[in-house]
């Protein structure tokens, strides 16, 4: 016979201001099986917990219902209290009379009644509870880091330095990401490559890091501590073991006019190429789509000129499966091109460029070796107009968010331009200056005060070409919306930062959630900013939302620390809230298998004593099951039940709701 204790928490005023907690306790005491019932100001406090412990001892309770906040908040607290008195913790249930009752209803009898009903429902559940025991699962202490930009590099190094194995995969031929493309970085104007490349080399040389460049995630199975990732290592048509990185092949390639991705298409590259001189790994790759050999088989220049014999035209994509325990997603972002803007010429004006393209023009490793020369005729532009918020914060463009980095890099661009072209004029059209960050505001002030950058608050409605000049028509909203028209030599658009086009499909492969802009979603915007909703998968960098370098690095280290904490345990403890199948009634239709989002349902053959298969039934892998209950809902013969939320428990709760008698009012 159940002996249940009911404990009603006031939560200070949170519950008590609208619910008559004393009355709820009194009503609850009338429920058959409830042998003790009380209310208290803060049940989660030390005296509150002691009150529960003492009652368990005094009244020999077999189950406990705490009427308080959401179980997400304090279920672990109260289960621990109950367990400390020797009761199986799963005999403690929480009735949420705060979020589900006091917070959403006005003070009154009906609110008190709802709280009492909620308690009664949970009492019925406890009556039908069964002891459950935590599940232990092993942890593979190897991390998969997806994306080799600065975030992925930082996360890999941190995890590897803690003594764990890391597999870092990068879809491009070299790691480095966007940071490798930058000239100088705000707010210190230190050279981007100078601070990045040592980290890239460290990754390549680290004994715990396996670097797989030119590789992508093909599929992912498994769960926290026990993922199985299949990685597609794309054919680069180079035997990486033989290649010594001399670069002769890239010089001999007769195709030389392919727009260079690393230079944001400001320069050209051959069909066999190393993205940039400091690339890691420093091995070339053949661009199959543009290579004459792959088009008609007529060219072998690279092969005949390779002294190492490393060119392998027959190389195929490889699928490699790895076991990993945790995953850091650091796939970064991309930016909108100039073709996204009809008002700025749809990308047809050569001298209207994106911020990233301008970055390459400023870079000493760029196509102009650091001289600012405009793409159309190679002349040094004397007047450059920068347009901030190109696409960002613009509902009409479908991008309502702030791209965050543009204010700072536009100030930097204008500043660097003025350093290189001292007699030039830099005008910036802006909406607001968002310079929140250490030394950021000072940096923007420096642009205005020391480098004479002209800030104009207003939007640009149109850019068009006239007599070799770009006419920029805008408005100055600080001068009573006076129309402004500037004849510029060059226009730089700080185009919106957006998610990669394949972000959605990657999220689906990894089973992580993403927002309406296809940026990956964190588990909680404030308190769990680096975890995803899928246990064991964390986020780093701009794949979550636009971020600058310091933020990306900080988040990467945070993701790494989550991963390292996970790897510090040999066994993971999981809540036993999982589905179980009844093998005697299961008919093996495997509808459950097709609906399970976690691939947790396996086929088990039931055999007689002679080894003949009698039938094949569903069996649930307790490591994979996340207890979502979808299979339970689908099973026609109700041969699957969810531990902790069994059919019987739920049915008794629903029945209790409909069986309110006068006594419980």
């Amino acid at each position: 016979m159940a002996r249940i204790g009911v404990f009603i928490c006031h939560c200070g005023e949170n519950i008590a201001s609208t619910v008559d907690c004393g009355k709820v306790a009194e009503i609850s005491s009338k429920i058959p099986g409830v042998v003790f019932s009380t209310d208290y100001k803060y049940m989660c406090s030390d005296p509150g917990q002691t009150l529960i412990k003492d009652a368990i001892k005094k009244y020999k309770l077999t189950g406990v219902v705490v009427g308080a906040c959401s179980p997400r908040m304090h279920e672990p607290t109260f289960r621990k209290v109950v367990a400390s008195e020797g009761i199986n913790p799963f005999f403690c249930e929480m009735a949420n009379i705060r979020e589900h009752c006091s917070w959403v209803h006005p003070k009154g009898e009906e609110t008190t009644q709802k709280a009492a009903d909620t308690i009664r429902i949970l009492v019925e559940k406890v009556r039908n509870n069964e002891p459950l025991y935590p599940i232990k699962v092993p942890v593979t202490k190897r991390a998969l880091v997806i994306g080799g930009g600065i975030a992925g590099i930082q996360a890999s190094l941190d995890i590897a330095n803690a003594g764990n194995e890391v597999i870092l995969i990068e879809k491009e031929p070299s790691i480095g990401g966007h940071m490798a493309q930058l000239s100088e970085t705000f707010p210190t104007l230190d050279c981007s490559q100078c601070i990045l490349t040592p980290r890239m080399v460290e990754v390549a040389q680290h004994p715990n890091i396996t670097l797989m460049s030119y590789s992508e995630v093909e599929s992912l199975e498994g769960f926290i501590g026990n993922f199985k990732a299949t990685i597609r290592k794309k054919a680069r048509f180079i035997n990486e073991e033989l290649c010594n990185g001399c670069g002769d092949c890239t010089l001999k390639c007769p195709i030389k006019k392919i727009p260079d991705e690393f230079n944001a298409e400001m320069g050209k590259r051959p069909a066999i190429y190393v993205p940039f001189p400091q690339a890691v790994p420093n091995k070339p790759v053949i661009d199959k789509d543009n290579c004459t050999h792959f088009k008609n088989g007529k060219c072998q220049f690279c092969k005949t000129n390779c002294s190492a014999g490393a060119i392998d035209f027959d190389q195929q994509d490889q699928l490699i499966t790895v076991d990993v325990g945790a995953i850091v997603v650091a796939t970064g972002f991309t930016i909108k091109g100039t073709d996204f803007f009809p008002e700025y010429g749809y990308g047809k004006y050569k001298d209207v460029v994106t911020g990233l393209q301008f970055e390459r023009l400023l870079s000493s490793s760029g196509p102009t070796l650091g001289e600012v020369r405009r793409p159309s005729d190679g002349k040094v532009p004397k007047k450059v107009v920068f347009i901030a918020c190109a696409g960002s914060r613009d509902p009409a463009k479908g991008i309502e968010y702030c791209s965050k980095i543009c204010c700072m890099y536009t100030a930097k661009h204008a500043m660097l331009y003025k350093h290189k072209v001292p007699d030039g004029e830099a005008d910036i059209f802006y909406m607001d200056i968002r310079a929140g960050g250490k030394n950021y505001e000072e940096f923007v002030r420096r642009a205005v005060e020391e480098d004479d950058v002209n800030y104009i608050r207003g939007r640009v409605s149109k850019v068009y070409e006239k007599n070799g000049k770009l006419i920029v028509r805008g408005v100055d909203t600080l001068l009573n919306s006076t129309p402004v028209e500037i004849e510029a030599d060059m226009v730089v658009l700080a185009t919106a930062s957006v998610a990669h086009s394949d972000a959605e499909s990657l999220a689906q492969k990894l089973h992580i959630s993403y927002d309406s802009y296809n940026f990956f979603s964190e588990a909680h915007p404030k308190l769990r900013p680096v975890e995803t909703n899928t246990a064991g998968i964390t986020l780093a960098g701009a794949c979550q939302a636009p971020k600058d370098i310091p933020e990306s690095v900080a988040q990467a280290s945070a993701a790494a620390s989550k991963t390292i904490a996970l790897f510090s345990q040999d066994l993971l403890t999981r809540e036993p809230i999982i589905a179980v199948s009844n093998k005697s009634t299961c008919v093996g239709c495997f509808l459950c298998q097709s609906v399970c989002p976690y691939l947790a349902i396996e086929r088990e053959e039931i055999k007689d004593r002679n080894g003949n298969i009698i039938k094949t039934v569903a069996s649930i892998n307790s490591g994979l099951c996340q207890g979502c209950g979808t299979c339970v809902a689908f099973c026609r013969s109700k041969s699957i039940d969810l531990q902790g939320y069994t059919n019987n428990q739920v049915f008794s709760e629903v029945s209790a709701l409909f069986e309110r008698s006068e006594e419980y009012v």
Partner: protein, 267 residues
């Protein structure tokens, strides 16, 4: 000897089967299922327009399974149920022989799912006009009229479960209505109990029913049960474009996620 009997005899003679389930005349002047376990009884085997029962309902019975090698006399609906239960892992290719009766009444022997799929594609028939008319009539009713119509129909139900017994897709060894811990579906023949049962039955067959109509024919109180599943199938076909009983590797649309699935009903 008829062609049908010839095919059956050959299967027995070369040891391909131990049991054949077909139709024979019964003492009431109608037809019933006959279970033939030796070739001597083959002359009782018949097929005519009265042979409508979907014999695949017997496939999963342990009493039948113990014979091992089986053959069934089946027309179009029976073959569709073969493919449907194949998609639900209840029958494997080669588990049984099928003597298929085409729309002209001619028998042919089908041995694998591929042949069955081809046969179904080549022998499609339209649902009976009466059924379509009634469906249209009900769909044209207002919500209230429709509710009243079904309430009246279900009020006749005596919970004999004949609809369940004749259905080749009701193969669960434990039906949800027989579960009493907890008793989700009330067992009594009352308005609520009848509604519980018929909603559960219709939902369990949504997107699976192959439309043999046996439930309706078996119902002693003439509830037009096949309409419920036919209408659910229609909705599923509109939303997901899939039809049960056409392919052995049918992906049940309510449980399989496809990237191209419409999401316009999520608001």
């Amino acid at each position: 000897m008829t062609e049908l009997q010839n095919i059956a005899k050959k299967l027995f003679d070369d040891g391909s089967i131990n049991l054949l389930i077909g139709y024979s005349n019964n003492e009431n002047g109608g037809t019933s299922a006959i279970f033939i376990d030796n070739s001597a009884d083959i002359d009782k085997l018949i097929y005519n327009e009265n042979c409508h029962q979907n014999l695949m309902v017997y496939f999963q019975k342990p009493e039948v399974k113990k014979f091992g090698k089986l053959a069934f006399v089946v027309s179009l609906p029976g073959l569709k149920s073969v493919l449907e239960i194949a998609s639900e892992n209840q029958i494997k290719d080669g588990d049984a022989y099928f003597i298929a009766i085409d729309k002209d009444g001619n028998p042919s022997l089908l041995q694998d799912f591929h042949q069955i799929e081809d046969f179904i594609t080549n022998n499609q028939t339209k649902p009976p006009m009466g059924l379509l008319k009634l469906m249209e009539k009900i769909n044209n009713m207002t919500r209230e009229e429709r509710w009243q119509y079904w309430t009246d129909e279900f009020s006749k139900c005596i919970k004999c479960y004949a609809c369940r017994s004749v259905c080749p897709l009701c193969y669960c060894t434990q039906c949800i209505t027989d579960i009493n811990i907890p008793q989700w579906i009330s067992t009594e023949s009352s308005p609520i109990g009848n509604l519980d049962w018929h909603i559960a039955r219709a939902m369990h067959l949504a997107g699976r029913c192959i439309g043999c109509g046996e439930c309706m024919k078996a119902c002693p109180v003439d509830i037009p049960l096949a309409l419920l599943t036919a209408n659910l199938n229609k909705s599923i076909a509109i939303h997901f474009g899939d039809e049960p009983g056409m392919k052995a590797d049918y992906k049940y649309p309510l449980s399989h996620y496809k990237l191209e699935d419409k999401e316009n009903f999520i608001r």
